[in-house]
């Protein structure tokens, strides 16, 4: 019995010890208690207690302020630990809106790692502070963002015309200058969301003409149409998150939507990115990732080399700079959708969802940058990516000179079935006819105008049998025995055969297309046979048999 007595004694003491340890850990060793103990305000030390911000409308109850006390309502004067610093001034006061609505993370947790979501299987970890503007994307949809070059041009225009003399944007400008050159005009930081007076120019001009001195006279002058268009582009994007807009401009210059969809617009080749920013680290395979196992790091490394992070990925490596990788990562993290009650839904989201306003600007360069550069390269120079058929250089004069605008429009609208070129029509890729028109016009700017010959669309009357033999021996190596395309493009393509003229085929076979592997077969060449005009015509006749077969 004494053995049992000792066992009982030791076990009981052990349990007691462990319970005390657990109690001490729970009550005294919590980081937030230490942080609060260091806090002082005007009246002396502050009460050490669990603090939280509750916003029933947003369904948040954020206990982050148990450590970040200064962000709690009425506590902004507290000083002490280095955590006790005030939030920088923002539109959405954290003491009212809470923290997780913008920064994500786990508002109800009260340990640092848990709250920041730096624990296993927390599906929505905190957005890295350097990307914190991505949090705006939880509710907002930045509208009408142009491609990178145009955005910086538009921003520079705003500065060049010295609008900052009177107007404040993102904390810059709007001061009254000692020389009386400026005055306080409306803050334009968020007019991209809330809109602004579209007649501003007429009113400004009137004021300017009436004034004889002062800022209206000195700081304002007539603005030409081109600059006004740029200003309009710039103002459409202001939402007090310039970094995010810059990130989105990079996105709109990289052609990601060529393969991916966001909010129903884009290609089907890749994953839908509408909620990519909510990517759950628990569902991510970090096996091939060097460095930290964070969502941001995964995204950044994936941008650098998709196939080394996701085995078997079909996404080409885009050769991005570090700056572009960072900005694209930030934009990816901003692709979030918080379920909001109607009263909290911001205007830009309403305009995007209810009125179909575009998140990209409507000019040709932006549309091309948003949808086409991913495959066809910047300025349409084409792209070669290891393990994939090369993407055609569509700005080549050998193409643009031989095809009509209708050909381009039709091929963009209907795509190339069986190949990676998707159909961009409204019901599939989601582009409106006028947007496709803008892209075609932009292509023409990049290259040359159509130089039609006088022949009708179908003029060849040759023997397809001869063409069949020639195709099998000469063309099938690149274009496939059935014309399905291997390294070269598919020629059995319905859309191509329906829209291309006989002259287009004859010229392309005869003269080739510069910038691609297709060289002209009329020219003598040491490595492959030379074709006569008649032989080329017979091949075209053979190509046409596929069209009939398909019918």
């Amino acid at each position: 019995m004494s053995k049992n007595k000792y066992l009982l004694l030791i076990s009981s003491l052990g349990v007691l010890l462990l319970l005390v340890a657990a109690a001490v850990q729970e009550n005294f060793l919590r980081e937030w208690r230490r942080v609060q103990a260091s806090g002082r305000n005007e009246e002396g030390s502050i009460a050490v207690q669990l603090r939280q911000i509750v916003n029933p409308g947003l369904k948040t109850s954020d206990r982050c302020v148990s450590c970040h006390v200064t962000m709690a309502p009425g506590e902004s004067t507290v000083t002490g630990s280095k955590l006790l610093t005030a939030h920088k001034p923002v539109v959405h006061d954290p003491s009212e809106w809470g923290c997780t609505v913008c920064h994500a993370g786990q508002g109800q947790a009260t340990d640092r790692a848990d709250a920041h979501g730096d624990v296993h299987f927390w599906p929505d970890p905190m957005i890295e502070p350097r990307f914190s503007q991505a949090g705006c994307g939880s509710c907002h949809a930045p509208l009408g963002v142009p491609e990178e070059e145009r955005l910086s041009l538009a921003r520079n225009t705003f500065a060049r015309l010295d609008c900052y003399a009177c107007h404040k944007v993102d904390g810059r400008g709007g001061m009254i200058r000692p020389d009386g050159g400026g005055m306080e005009g409306p803050d334009l930081s968020r007019v991209g969301i809330n809109n602004y007076d579209r007649d501003w120019y007429a009113k400004h001009l009137q004021q300017h003409q009436q004034a004889t001195q002062g800022p209206w006279r000195n700081s304002f002058a007539a603005v030409n149409d081109q600059d006004r268009a740029l200003l309009a582009d710039y103002l459409a994007t202001t939402m007090a998150a310039p970094k995010l807009i810059e990130a989105k401009a990079v996105f709109n210059s990289t052609g990601c939507l060529g393969c991916h969809k966001v909010s129903g617009v884009g290609g089907d080749e890749g994953m839908d990115l509408t909620r990519e920013g909510e990517k759950d680290p628990g569902q991510i395979n970090f096996a091939h990732l060097a460095g930290g196992h964070t969502v941001e790091n995964w995204m950044a490394e994936h941008f650098r080399s998709p196939v080394s992070i996701v085995v078997g990925s079909q996404m080409p490596s885009l050769g991005l700079s570090d700056r572009e990788v960072d900005l694209l990562t930030m934009y990816m993290r901003s692709l979030r959708r918080k379920d909001l009650p109607a009263s909290f839904t911001p205007k830009d989201r309403v305009r995007a969802v209810r009125f179909g306003e575009r998140e990209f600007a409507g000019d040709g360069a932006t549309l091309f940058g948003t949808f086409c550069t991913g495959c066809h390269g910047g300025n349409g120079v084409g792209r070669r990516s290891p393990g994939m058929p090369s993407f055609p250089a569509i700005a080549s004069p050998d193409l643009l000179g031989r095809v009509s605008d209708d050909f381009l429009t039709e091929n963009i609208t209907k795509g190339r079935p069986g190949r990676r070129m998707p159909a961009w029509g409204e019901l599939t890729g989601g582009l409106k006819p006028e947007e496709i028109g803008k892209i075609v016009a932009y292509l023409r700017e990049l290259g040359v105008p159509y130089q039609p010959d006088s022949k009708p669309a179908r003029w060849i009357k040759a023997d397809p049998e001869q063409g069949k033999k020639l195709f099998a021996s000469i063309c099938s190596g690149c274009h496939g025995a059935q014309g399905q395309g291997i390294e070269g493009p598919a020629l059995s393509n319905k859309v191509l055969l329906a829209t291309a003229t006989d002259s287009y085929f004859v010229q392309t076979i005869g003269q080739g297309r510069r910038g691609t592997a297709m060289l002209g077969f009329l020219e003598p060449h040491p490595a492959r046979p030379t074709l006569s005009q008649a032989e080329i015509e017979s091949i075209v006749a053979f190509l046409r048999t596929w069209e009939r077969g398909k019918k």
Binding site: M1, N4, L18
Partner: protein, 521 residues
């Protein structure tokens, strides 16, 4: 109160005085009425202490010294019950915060984990106590088997014990789904598919459309075709109400039977082996005056004079100290484990993203390994054979040699070791063969499923164990020897298959030496 006042009260009369005296003695009389019979200081009051209390009287008043030796039981039964009590208390606490609906279940576990004061601690204890209970109930069964404690008159209690094993596994399994994370969701999906495994037979016969007991079983379990809200509420109800009640009921019968069957099994010559009691609490301190009464209710041939019947000691305090010690030790182990390791919580359940490998709870991974050969055999066939065999043991083994002794009976410890070797080598050989060379389906892709159902590593292993045990019956000329051979083999098979299923099976149930070798997805 000064002496003067007291005197005054005394003088003034009896009623007030009586009131005062009664008030003063209330604590004592409260104790007297609560524990009638007085302080347990003599054998008589110790007896009253036990049989006068509804909870204690499940024990016999006196306990044999053989039962109190640590090596007799290692306290495994009490440890199991202690673990059950711990899960009961922590479970009730968790119920204050847990919400059994798929929309909020995961969130409420997150809250328990991160927000509720001591919530994580309680959940960890609950989880660890649940696992401890599964382990101790298995060890307890092994103890009862190896000491041949299932023999007459304890046959029925052995069956009760088996029922408790099944209910314990059921409790653990139903609790597995409640966090509604990926781990839970896919483990239960696997479990439900095991329930549906008779479909393997009905599909092969082409009668599933008309007669589908497997689908019916799964439907009853899940309340739907897939793991969803209905399954969650079913599992919740089973976990927090039905199964604990059933368990408590059977436990009561189990304990009662232990007492009614004459305490723990012991060798016939236990008294001689123990020798005279010395150093411990003296036996029968009072001169027994009414031993004939004891003789009437306690098994034994002659009234014992000057000695406790059959060398027993009072249960209070000897047995109770032991039980309390085991209880506290179990608490200590669970609390320590809870502080060391958190209960797992993966990401929210996602029916669209299957876990690969999706694994059942660890104690079912041996079965899952068998299921990977044949769903019916692994999920239904072999477990049924094993349970039937276990249930039949006490009715087939009617020998008496070795009762109450570790590895008692013909063959003894040597047979146990021999069976361990046979059990381990057969299961490892057959597993290595399958992992290296595959099985019939890989060699003959068009072979009928029924052939695989009949001939697969699981059934072959069962046959090998059966044949070995029959050989042992013949060799040792003893049913007990056969039973020991079979039980040992199955135990080895269970352990090896469970370890392989837990540590060496990766995506698509392919064998890997280490999770580090798993291919990325």
């Amino acid at each position: 109160m000064s002496v003067g006042t007291e005197e005054k009260i005394e003088q003034r009369g009896s009623a007030l005085h009586e009131f005062w005296q009664n008030l003063k003695s209330t604590p004592k009389s409260f104790l007297d009425t609560a524990f009638r019979g007085g302080a347990p200081k003599t054998d008589r009051t110790r007896s009253t202490f036990v049989f006068g209390n509804v909870f204690f009287h499940l024990h016999s008043v006196r306990t044999h010294r053989w039962s109190l030796r640590w090596t007799t039981t290692w306290g495994l039964g009490i440890a199991t019950f202690a673990a059950f009590l711990i899960t009961l208390i922590t479970g009730v606490l968790l119920m204050f915060y847990y919400k059994p609906s798929p929309d909020v279940a995961y969130q409420s576990i997150k809250d328990i984990h991160f927000v509720v004061p001591t919530g994580r601690f309680m959940r960890n204890i609950h989880r660890w106590a649940g696992n401890v209970m599964v382990i101790t109930v298995l060890l307890h069964m092994a103890r009862a088997f190896y000491t041949a404690a299932y023999r007459k008159p304890r046959q029925f209690n052995w069956l009760m014990g088996m029922a408790l094993l099944v209910v314990t596994l059921g409790l653990s399994f139903t609790g597995y789904l409640l966090p509604w994370d990926q781990l839970a969701y896919w483990a239960i999906t696997i479990g439900a598919n095991i329930a549906a495994s008779p479909q393997e037979i009905t599909n092969a016969l082409g009668i599933t459309q008309h007669f589908d007991p497997g689908g019916m079983q799964r439907l009853i379990l899940l309340g739907s075709d897939t793991v969803g809200p209905e399954a969650l509420i079913r599992f919740y109800l089973l976990h927090v109400m039905i199964l604990p009640l059933v368990l408590a009921l059977i436990v009561a019968v189990h304990f009662w039977r232990v007492r009614k069957d004459g305490g723990l099994a012991r060798p016939a010559d236990a008294d001689r082996r123990l020798g005279p009691a010395k150093g411990t609490y003296p036996i029968f301190t009072e001169q027994p005056k009414k031993t004939y009464q004891l003789a009437a209710i306690v098994r034994g041939r002659t009234p014992a004079v000057g000695n406790g019947p059959e060398g027993t000691v009072p249960s209070m305090p000897h047995l109770f100290y032991g039980e309390l010690a085991v209880l506290m030790l179990t608490v200590l182990i669970c609390v320590a484990l809870a502080l060391i390791a958190n209960a797992p919580l993966k990401e929210l359940a996602n029916p669209g993203v299957p876990e690969n490998p999706a694994k059942a709870p660890w104690y079912f991974l041996g079965l899952q390994e068998l299921v990977s050969f044949s769903a019916f055999m692994g999920g239904i066939g072999i477990p049924t054979i094993v349970l039937l065999g276990l249930g039949l043991i006490p009715y087939l083994d009617r020998e008496t040699a070795g009762t109450g002794e570790w590895f008692g009976g013909p063959g003894g410890k040597k047979l146990a070791w021999r069976s361990v070797w046979f059990g381990l080598i057969s299961v490892l050989a057959i597993e290595s063969f399958v992992i290296r060379f595959g099985w019939l389906r890989e060699w003959f892709p068009h072979i009928p499923q029924l052939v695989i159902t009949a001939i697969n590593p699981g059934t072959l292993l069962t046959l090998a164990y059966g044949a070995y045990s029959v050989w042992c019956v013949k060799k040792y000329n003893s049913t007990r020897a056969g039973a020991m051979a079979l039980f040992t083999c199955f135990l080895c098979g269970f352990v090896v298959l469970t370890v392989i299923g837990t540590y060496f099976r990766g995506p698509n149930w392919v064998f890997y030496w280490s999770p580090a070798d798993w291919p990325g997805h």
